[in-house]
Amino acid sequence: MSKTYQAIVIGAGPAGSSAALTMARAGLDVALVERGSFPGEKNMFGGVLHRLPSLEEIFPDFWQRAPLERHIVKKGVTFMTADSSFNTTIEAGNFDRPPFNGYTIFRPRFDRWLAQEAVKAGATLITRATVDELVHKNGKLAGVTVQGRDGELLAPVVIAADGVLSFIARKAGLRQPTFNPAQMAVGVKALLDMPREMIDDRFGLVREQGFANEFVGCTDGVRGGGFLYTNYDSLSIGLVFHLASLRTSGKTPYDLLNAFMEQPQVAKMICGGKLQEYSAHLIPEGGYDMIPELVGDGILVAGDAAAFCNATGLNLEGINLASHSGVLAGKAVVEAHRNRDFSKQGLSHYKKLLEESYVIKDLKLYRKAPHMLHNDRIYNEYPELMCSFMEYIYRIDGAPKENLSRLFLKSAREKVGLGNLMADGLAPGEHYEYRRNF
């Protein structure tokens, strides 16, 4: 049996649920279609949820209502080698006062809650439904079919929030038929149970405070990095790899994760943790240059499906961009209903809203970041250089001291090569080489 709605949202992640919520609040009859048996069942991320200005506008008390874990007061970066690490942390008083800068969350809880908020606003949530095909009638997009189910879900407009691979955007001809592995990363994560008091003591936290740390040099030369986040009574620890680099490395994500967890300093941080769950997910890391066509006749693309992910090297933003784009897509559909125009032209308001928002502005600003991160030396030689230089500085063994800048140059020559050091300081990574290869 077919059912008709005013809009269909594919995927009940942060983008889809934000879109459904926006449209339902504006009075539209919306279907929110999710392939998991509940929203969030298929979702995984590194771990910090940042401010969500568009949802905060909808719910002024958003941060009181959402199911969150700890707020991040302490952020660290660790440059490490197989047996050494050099660490910097910032703990800011302002990070410990509302509005908090970020929280750790569990996706199966957070995403389920956000979808329920859309349902409360009037959206119809359809779970266990993997969208198969787009349906066209009279030359116009008219709805979708669901794998293994008879009938169709009909609507004059569809929002594809179906995640990083977005088969829907592909079927609508909005994204390229293949992905460039240089624009994709895979994240793997282990969730470790640990008593709350142990986490508080170990990482110097009180109350609901949380700690987030990024690691460089922990991937055995594969382009990528590591992370460790504190939840109330568990740790999320994982690695992210650029796929082009992982593919040619011959190394496996789980062996590298295991080695990371066994590195002596990391092992001390996670000691006593009990493995609860292992997960993996792709991250669209190509930035602005990876964004597909965002609007077609009767269709809009939001969230990971639109490659809205900002990997600057220090922060990794995705949920905030997804949610924001979902709200804007929802607003554009509300306007399209008002004008009864679901053509590409009629929906193009979405692009305008995006361009005026931090989503596109930030992605444009950091357009070069993905290229700069395609520099193998970041992942091996520089962490080695930092650790060995700091070790030299602190080693007092009766040998006559050397001039520090001379010492640095000596270490740099050994670990990186002076030519490379100059090149990395002057040129944006291997930008040109990267362009040539792909």
Binding site: S37, R107, M261
Partner: protein, 92 residues
Amino acid sequence: MNIDEIFDNTSFTIDREPHIVLNYDICAGCDNRGCVNSCPARCYSWSQEEQKMTFVHDGCLECGTCYVVCHKDAFTRWRYPRGGFGVAYRMT
């Protein structure tokens, strides 16, 4: 940590019908087989003696790594599992 333990902690509802189907002839002629090492779920294995690829969909985490790293277009089918099937994250 014993690597095998990593995989034992994730829950699945396994569909008998695989959501990913490979044309193994294409894999046999591949010069790269990046799927074998890149798959975070250890779903792909290549036998050098038999010159044969084996793929098991049971423990698939539905991440899409194989879909992106395969440069031979070896998939006769690559789709997400039917609704309600596949990996089921509880907390992550």
